[in-house]
Symmetry: C2
């Protein structure tokens, strides 16, 4: 649980920078994201901001994802979760048992994509990648 308020501040700054209004519900959602450990579902967020409508929570999440402040990632069964984007573009490891999310540096991924340019038909416009792990905490318990 991060309680520094830094995350909250950054999220709100993201809204300002993108020209969106700083409303009370959005502040509360930002506040709640600041308090989430690891990856969370949209429903987790809804539960943690009682009084804020579900639609508004989903809309706010979408704003943050589009602004790059949150990442939408997929669990092995395809179920979506969200996590903070600490660094610009990166990829995730997700523990299939506890759901803990990790980042990894993606220089190798980028190198791979560069080598794919020669192999694919057309322009590469994006990619999606998740690596599923059995994390050390889970595998020793």
């Amino acid at each position: 649980m991060t309680t520094s308020g830094q995350v909250r501040h950054d999220l709100i700054a993201t809204l300002e920078d993108s020209g969106f209004r700083l409303t009370a519900p959005r502040r509360r959602v930002a506040d709640s994201i600041d308090g989430q450990a690891d990856a969370f579902t949209a429903e987790d967020l809804c539960d943690s901001v009682p009084g804020v409508g579900r639609a508004t929570v989903y809309r706010t999440i979408k704003l943050f994802v589009e602004a790059g402040a949150l990442c939408k990632l997929a669990m092995p069964d395809g179920a979506p979760k969200y996590s903070l984007s600490k660094i610009g573009h990166h990829h995730h490891t997700v523990c299939v048992r506890c759901g803990k999310v990790g980042d990894f540096r993606d220089s190798t991924v980028e190198r791979m994509l560069r080598s794919l340019v020669k192999e694919v038909d057309g322009q590469i416009v994006g990619h999606r990648m998740e690596v599923y792990v059995d994390c050390s905490d889970c595998s020793t318990s």
Copy 2:
């Protein structure tokens, strides 16, 4: 559009090999998959086999995915599509405009995963990857 019947034959053989019954609805679904160009949605298939129930179409798709005859892949917005698995384990490129699916050799991907082993916390148990492209047909039209 493939009309060779080879795909249909292979799908039906997959059912036999897995010990499932060869029913008329399943044959019709296999037939329809044979007629699909590139990636298709479950709903596309439902539309192409009138008279076969939606639930049966979804159940049959699931059988093929579990048997490895079909791949479930995700579009950039997360919407699922299905495509034939021509080779064992591989990855896809998906054209974000026309939906055309391509494969690429994954030696580079495997090399990347090996290098990630050192970097991640725990055992890698799986991964998911899609590369989105603007294919040559679309970008010149």
